[in-house]
């Protein structure tokens, strides 16, 4: 008798637990409000956010924060077991660290086999078979230049090698077209590190070997030469001395205002913003070209960004609805034209190019074909610490406080330190 009652009680409890889950799936999510934490280039226009609310009934509280500040915000909240927001940015460089700590809910159910083909970057955001973010920004780097400045200096074609880039910049400066032709960030922020990685690749080398040992320590290595190139360009007056206080988004403003000729580590998606007359002063003359390298054969790497749902979020269903909406083809297209986020869906890229809406489409697609990941084995968990050590050292070298040699040694030492943990 008692046993039957026990079984009945257990069954009742199990049923009660199952009911809400079922109810949640059935009931519309109308009236819920979710908070979304994204970097500045994902500040969705009002029409888009209003449209989302109209379609799903979910209200959005969109919080945008400088990219360098987002990671710390996510960490402080996540360690405490609370969700920094219901949907947050998940950058390729955080996958190792965030994946290991289990702070993000797996989104494998949202992407089936065919969708995964259309979104190739999902591989980068998979940690231990769990998909912790759906990619929304297909960022990779290429050279963006101001055609008008080049013509004014008598240069017909964009540079194909780094030597040509330097020579072109010098010519532009000498002709007085612009004071500081090269736009490169040199502050202690992530943009500085990633431009150095790009230049390392341009010099024909890599950062780490397959055993994650640094390859940039000897003076004839690509990384060393890349840093020396940057500092020499700065000393030659080709980079604005104020760049030591500028982030990547701020040097992009210089380019948009026509104060720089080359956005050296240009973001692929930004071409849509640069060619938009309502947003940039160089709309008619901004063009993309393949990243120049020492050998002339272009190389670049990818820095995709995704949106993820923190495991501690209390509005997971609504958050997933937002993620699904955000990477839907038509919204990826609008996100590109309004904000410069290059679509991650191959199908969308193709249709954009076919309809001629892909600015500098030819160069973009050619560059996209050679995009490599920075870490073939997946982003290590110590990457964020390594990267901030890199930008701090480059910042000091740019201010003349460290020689290139000393800066490289400092980076290597702190890489070893980060890896040891």
């Amino acid at each position: 008798m008692k046993r039957n009652m026990l079984v009945a009680a257990v069954a009742a409890i199990v049923l009660c637990a199952a009911l809400p889950a079922g109810a949640q799936a059935a009931a519309p999510l109308t009236g819920e409000t979710i908070s979304v934490l994204l970097p500045p280039w994902a500040t969705l226009p009002k029409d888009m956010t209003d449209r989302f609310t109209a379609q799903t009934g979910i209200k959005l509280s969109l919080q945008t924060l400088g990219w360098d500040e987002i990671r710390t915000k996510i960490i402080t909240a996540s360690i405490a077991g609370s969700a920094p927001a219901d949907v947050t940015e998940v950058d390729w460089s955080w996958v190792g660290q965030f994946g290991m700590s289990g702070w993000y809910a797996p989104l494998n159910s949202m992407v089936d086999a065919s969708a995964a083909k259309d979104l190739p970057e999902t591989a980068i955001f998979t940690y231990d078979k769990k998909l912790i973010g759906i990619p929304y920004n297909n960022d990779f780097r290429l050279l963006i230049f101001n055609r008008q400045h080049l013509s004014a200096a008598g240069i017909a074609q964009p540079p194909k090698t780094l030597a040509e880039l330097l020579a072109d910049a010098k010519a532009i400066k000498e002709k007085g077209v612009v004071k500081y032709p090269l736009a490169l960030p040199l502050s202690a922020t992530e943009g500085t590190s990633t431009s150095w990685y790009l230049l390392t690749k341009a010099f024909g080398g890599d950062l780490f070997d397959s055993n994650l040992k640094p390859l940039f320590t000897s003076p004839d290595s690509a990384g060393y030469k890349a840093l020396a190139w940057e500092i020499d360009a700065l000393k030659a007056g080709l980079i604005d001395p104020a760049a030591t206080g500028l982030k990547d988004v701020e040097v992009q403003e210089l380019f948009k205002n026509g104060q720089a000729s080359f956005d050296v580590a240009g973001w692929a998606g930004n071409l849509s913003v640069y060619t938009d007359a309502s947003k940039s002063k160089v709309a008619s003359v901004a063009e993309g070209a393949l990243m120049p390298t020492v050998s002339g054969k272009t190389r670049t790497f990818g820095l995709p960004e995704a949106v993820g749902v923190p495991a501690a979020s209390t509005h997971k269903a609504a958050a997933e609805a937002f993620v699904r909406w955000f990477v839907a083809p038509e919204n990826q297209m609008e996100s590109y034209t309004a904000l410069g986020n290059l679509p991650t869906r191959t199908s969308v890229l193709k249709s954009l190019n076919d309809s001629g809406k892909l600015a500098s489409g030819k160069a973009l697609l050619a560059q996209a074909a050679v995009v490599e990941p920075l870490f073939r084995q997946g982003t290590p968990t110590w990457y964020p610490q390594f990267s901030s050590a890199v930008s701090a050292a480059i910042n000091q070298a740019a201010k003349g406080q460290l020689s290139v040699d000393a800066a490289i040694k400092q980076i290597a030492a702190q890489a070893a330190d980060a890896q040891a943990q």
């Binding site: 660290q97 202690a188 610490q385 000091q396």
Partner: protein, 309 residues
């Protein structure tokens, strides 16, 4: 003999008022109990935990907290970034104390002389202290902006500099400018402390000294300075402690750049960017000891004063 009388008197009082004394004790405990709880849980407890944990490895991303003895401290001594941070903080303390004391003294002397509209001048002087340091940093970072800032345009148009400077490129200038924002905020505190000290000097002393033929300089050094020495000591130790705690200004003005990184920024970064809690805790232990030693003056004065109760 009189002491025997006093003793028997107090013995009588004690016997008669034992319950009164007891209830006073209970009441005293009751009144300070919440304070003990709050300070114990949120200040003294954590201090002890910090001391203990700094001898272990405590990282939120890794399991276990093994005992590692003085390893954290050893690593701190050899960490170049930490050394940078200490030097920067020392620079802040020196700049801040010197500028705040000189400026505060000047402001206090001026306020003491002014009789008409002193209340409004005092309000204006105190305003920078009352504002959130974060807002100060934003306002001043706009002033320091290399391309469009007020500092560059004023210096350039008055011919003091040949071209616009990028102020934060040079480490010394960067430290000075960050310290300047801190001084702007903390100078009012020194000024008010010294003003209070100045106002407690009786006018007759000045009259007597003048009768003896003392000029303004002798008046200052022989009458004013000695009599405000107490207030000066307090202002100095306050300036030091606050300069040690410098975080907001350096963080907003120059971010995590090593040039201007204070020790507290390094503590914050070790904990919340590098995720090495015990490393940050070891550093904060060192900061605490340094700060305590330097403000020993203040603590001793407090103790001397409470002994007279």
């Amino acid at each position: 003999m009189s002491s025997e009388l006093v003793n028997s008197e107090t013995a009588l009082t004690r016997a008669g008022n034992a319950s009164a004394v007891n209830s006073e004790r209970m009441l005293g405990f009751a009144f300070v109990a919440p304070i003990v709880v709050v300070m114990g849980f949120l200040v003294f407890g954590p201090v002890l935990v910090t001391l203990w944990d700094s001898l272990h490895r405590v990282d939120p991303m890794r399991a276990g907290t093994p005992f590692i003895g003085l390893d954290n401290y050893r690593n701190l001594m050899s960490d170049a970034r930490v050394l940078h941070a200490w030097l920067n903080t020392l620079a802040y303390v020196v700049f801040a104390v010197v500028l705040e004391t000189l400026g505060g003294l000047g402001a206090a002397l001026l306020l003491n002389r002014i009789t008409w509209g002193r209340r409004w001048l005092l309000a204006a002087v105190v305003l920078p202290w009352a504002l959130p340091p974060v807002v100060n940093a934003i306002v001043w970072s706009w002033i320091y902006n290399p391309s469009h800032g007020l500092l560059n345009s004023v210096l350039f148009s008055t011919g003091l500099i040949g071209a616009y400077h990028v102020w934060f490129n040079d480490r010394t200038t960067a430290l000075l400018l960050v310290a300047l924002v801190h001084v702007w905020r903390m100078l009012p505190l020194t000024a008010v402390i010294l003003l209070a000290a100045l106002q407690s000097i009786p006018a007759e002393l000045y009259q007597a000294a003048r009768l003896d033929g003392a000029g303004p300089f002798r008046l200052f050094s022989k009458v004013t300075l000695p009599l405000i020495s107490g207030g000066l000591a307090i202002a100095l130790s306050q300036s030091t402690v606050f300069a040690f705690n410098l975080f907001d200004e350096a963080w907003i003005l120059n971010g995590s750049s090593l040039d201007t990184r204070s020790v507290l920024i390094q503590v914050y970064m070790s904990a919340f960017q590098d995720l090495r809690f015990s490393y940050g805790m070891a550093l904060s232990v060192l900061v605490m000891f340094a700060s305590l030693v330097i403000s020993l003056v203040y603590v001793l004065r407090v103790y001397r004063e409470t002994r007279y109760d």
